[in-house]
Symmetry: C2
Subunit: 211 residues, 2 copies
DNA sequence: TGGGTCATGTAATAGGTTACATGATTGC
DNA sequence: GCAATCATGTAACCTATTACATGACCCA
C-alpha cells in the first residue's frame, strides 16, 4: 500500500523525536527541513488519522499543560519498518518547478525592466536565505556528544548553504550580464561594449526558437 | 480569472514560436526548460482547450504532412497581454520538494550504507545533468545575430550549470564527510581522525531533536 | 476587549500524474 | 509483422493549498 510523502515525513519526525502533535510537526518541518520541504495542516492532520488507522503510529497521552490538550503520537514497530523500507528505495527527482526561472526564460515578451526586477528580487531572497542558514549553523553545538542524527542534518544544511551561495553568485553575474546586453530597447547597431561577456550559451535541438 | 502555470507555459512557448501543437509543446518543455519545469499531456491538452475557449490562443491550420494532422495554435492579442501581465507579477518561491534531501535528513534510521548509496546516486545524476547542459551550451551558435530570446535562455542555462556544479561539488565532499564520520555503527569512543572535517553545522530552535 | 498564538480539524478547489484508448506511420 | 514514434485525448486518482470553523489562553 503506497503512501504519500507527507506520511513519511511524519514517520521520520517521530523516529527522531517521539510524542509530537500535528501542530508541532508542522512547526518542526518549517524549522528544520523548511529549506527543501513544506507541509500544510490540510496534509498533516488527515495523514495522522490514516497512519493511526493503519497502525503505523499510535496516540500517546497528550500532555495538557493548561492549554488545550495536544494529541501526540509515537511510532509503532510497523511504522518504523515502513520508514526504513522507504528510506532504502531510490529517490526520484522530478525537476523542481521554478517559477522564477520560468519568468526569466520568457522575459523577452515582458516590459523592459521586468527581468531585472525579478533578478533583484531573487538575489535578495537568496541573501536572506543564506543568512537564515548561517544563523542555524551558528546555533548548533560543536560539542562532542551531540545527537546521532546530527551528521545527516549537517549534510542537508551544508547542501542548502552551498546551493544558496551558488544561486546568489549566479544572480549577481546575471544582473551584470543583463544590464550589459540590454543598453536600450532596440540593440541593433553595435551594442556598446559588453562588460561581463562571460561565454555562456543555450538550447538543444530546440523545437521552440530555432536559431 | 486566475490560470494555472501550465497555461502560462503554453502562452510563453507560443510567444517564442507560433504554430505549435500540444505534442511539440511537451517536447519543447522537456528540451528547453526541462531542467526546472515539466508538463504532462494530461495538463497540456485540457489547458489548450480552455485557453482556446477563453480566446487567449486560437487554432491555426494544422499542417498534415502525411501524418495525422496536428492541431496547432497561435497567440491572440488577448493571450499576449495575459502573458505580459503574468510576467510582471512577482514570482513566489515555495521550497522545492526534494526527496533526496528528505531521505538524507532521516537517514539515521536507515540501514547502514543507504545514505551513501543515495549520495552516489545523486552525484551520478548531477554529473549526467551537467553533461547534458554542457552539450546544450556547445550546440548554441555564438554567432552575432541570433535570436532575441537567446540572452534569457543563456541566463537560465547558466543557472542550471552553476547550480548543478555546486550540487556536484557538495555531494563529493559530503560523501567524504560521511565515510569519515561513520567508521563503524557505534561511534562512541574517539571516532578515528575525521579527514574532511569541514566546519558545517545544523538546525535552529529544533523542536525535533533538541541537542 | 482585542489581537496573537496555540491547537485541531474539514471542505472546496486546484494542480498534477498515470494509465489507458485510439490509430497512423516509419524503420528494421 | 512488430516495435517505436507520432499524435490527441480522457478518466481516475492522488497531491496539495486555501479558506474556514472552532475555541481556549495570554498579554497589553
Amino acid at each position: 500500500m503506497p503512501r504519500n510523502p507527507t506520511s513519511y515525513v511524519i514517520l521520520g519526525l517521530l523516529s527522531i523525536h517521539p510524542n509530537l502533535s500535528g501542530y508541532v510537526m508542522r512547526k518542526a518541518v518549517q524549522g528544520s527541513i523548511g529549506y527543501f520541504w513544506a507541509e500544510s495542516y490540510g496534509q498533516i492532520y488527515p495523514a495522522l488519522k490514516r497512519l493511526t488507522r493503519e497502525g503505523l503510529i499510535a496516540k500517546s497521552g497528550g500532555e495538557s499543560n493548561g492549554r488545550r490538550p495536544r494529541q501526540e503520537y509515537v511510532l509503532t514497530e510497523a511504522g518504523r519498518r515502513c520508514l526504513r523500507e522507504w528510506l532504502a528505495v531510490p529517490f526520484h527527482d522530478e525537476p523542481p518547478k521554478n517559477e522564477f526561472l520560468l519568468k526569466l526564460f520568457f522575459a523577452r515578451e515582458a516590459a523592459p525592466g521586468v527581468a531585472a526586477a525579478h533578478l533583484r528580487d531573487f538575489e535578495e531572497r537568496n541573501r536572506r536565505m543564506l543568512d537564515t542558514l548561517n544563523n542555524i549553523e551558528a546555533s548548533v553545538p560543536t560539542a562532542r556528544p551531540s545527537n546521532p542524527h546530527q551528521p545527516y542534518w549537517l549534510l542537508t544544511l551544508g547542501f542548502g548553504k552551498a546551493l544558496t551561495a551558488a544561486a546568489l553568485a549566479w544572480s549577481e553575474s546575471a544582473r551584470a550580464e543583463l544590464t550589459a546586453a540590454k543598453p536600450s530597447a532596440a540593440p541593433s547597431i553595435r551594442p556598446p561594449k559588453k562588460r561581463v561577456a562571460k561565454k555562456t550559451a543555450s538550447s538543444r535541438k530546440h523545437v521552440v526558437g530555432k536559431h
